[in-house]
Symmetry: C2
Subunit: 337 residues, 2 copies
Amino acid sequence: MSTAPACLSHSRITITPALRAAVDRLDHRSRHQASYHFGWITAGGAPTSADAGKAVRPALALLSAEAVGAPPEVALPGAVAVELVHNFSLVHDDLMDGDEERRHRRTVWRLWGAPSAILTGDALLALAQEVLLDTGLSTAAPAARLLARTTRHLIRGQVQDLAFEQRAHVTLEECVDMAAGKTGALLSASASIGAVLAGAPEAAVDALALYGDQLGLAFQLVDDVLGIWGDPAVTGKPVHSDLRSRKKSLPVTYALHQDGPAGAELAAWLTSRGTPGEAELRRVAGLVEDAGGRDWALAEAARRLALAEDALRGAELDAGARGELLALGRFVVDREV
Amino acid sequence: MSTAPACLSHSRITITPALRAAVDRLDHRSRHQASYHFGWITAGGAPTSADAGKAVRPALALLSAEAVGAPPEVALPGAVAVELVHNFSLVHDDLMDGDEERRHRRTVWRLWGAPSAILTGDALLALAQEVLLDTGLSTAAPAARLLARTTRHLIRGQVQDLAFEQRAHVTLEECVDMAAGKTGALLSASASIGAVLAGAPEAAVDALALYGDQLGLAFQLVDDVLGIWGDPAVTGKPVHSDLRSRKKSLPVTYALHQDGPAGAELAAWLTSRGTPGEAELRRVAGLVEDAGGRDWALAEAARRLALAEDALRGAELDAGARGELLALGRFVVDREV
């Protein structure tokens, strides 16, 4: 069994030629901007190899074919397609959120303007379907259908995320549902699309999809903890970044719904205005912690990861691939918290 | 044979329930904004029946199934899908172009902001694929593949359109290629997707696709003539609207490439700044006309329409449906010029 980092590295190497071939089909401008976004070229067009992210989704896709006894090549178009959908959402989200940097490089909209970011994102979304359907496999249609449905849920999650920013009250259930859409849906599709392309039995596909759903929630819970308490040297984001933007993340939403002074004080702070200083942010992080937000998020992440693992263990899957999926899931969730 | 207006009206009535059922799957906000965009509700959510456009694309899709001897119901998911892709592009284009009104109503981005317009457009694009693939038809995969490829060309056309605004020189060939992407691609897919869903022979599908391609160019040529010389009472746009924005439309691009004083004066004017008055716009419209831009565009539209009709006449198609396609094409192109 290879380790998770080796698995991710292998997946990145496996999919990059197919991903580049797909992006090469785009018109000149969309190709240039997508190639920049993927870290293959500089903004000026010179070849480079910038950080293109961990490629977790393609790795899950390739392993999901192996898990049902198929060669990973069967899943390759699926691995490319989920990476294209993920990056469609990043390019559009960066624009919507006004984020000027991603992985220490300027974002597409920041370099080329909003219309370019809209069109490049649109092009990546359409391309994801084209890559799947061009295979001519009889299983391409169910895989493309899964991807279309997943995109609907992904968009629903982003819609909720933006709506919650403008609402005073968000229930914990709504917040979990948002994370299930924004993060869980595409991880679920990634963890099952290889099995769908391989024509695996429904039970195996469902188990892999459930694994991805629960892994996605565990990942988001940990990500939200890191967004408040993460080490900037590790996360690459400023300390307390999610508090600075007064984001109703999962730990914050949990804390808001607890009785006691910490939750009430936190609620009052969230409706306040102005740019908080470091001391204020430390105090607010303390309120979330005092109301149990941090402990709950970490316990819930562990519970979701266990549910994910149960789903894999309860299904008839290739033992080696199952082991790699388990290792990959733990690697993704067990970051420095 | 029914007349073209009756055919369009019938098509609108046929597809609306399926289109509404598809939009009902979207999250609450995307559904609301899409339903407003389609003219079914007011911005506040009250039922209404505003102008939703002519539904040319769904009409072509339904006729393309009948043309190959299949019942129009076979094409219904295709008709819904092309209408969804068309409206995805309208919602995103309105935002990119900064257009505040469409069909005398405020645009989605103007009412709900840029992020909403981006997400609603994204949702419509993903939904188009889902509608096709949910049919479970064995022909859904080739139809979905056609739609994905078409979307790539549609985006290419919009990318070119935006790029040409910033360029001093655009060849007539580039301008025609842009129109082929922005207008021709989706009309081509519309005119053939019903035949694809019906599993028709390749020759019939190709003839219908060619019909749509050429019809799209003829339509765009006439549209560009109307954008300069059209009667505002008929077009719903201000007089000389394409000249006001110094758009390098097809007649303008043709005129720019002709020898003689009119073309040279036009070229100088296009690089000038400031808001032109009515007298100046009349003078510039005269330059385009003097350089032959109007005559060329109308002659080229007639030539393209003849090529479209030749494609239909040369293929083995149902005579009644062929007649309706011919009538529909003429109705779309022969507007008040």
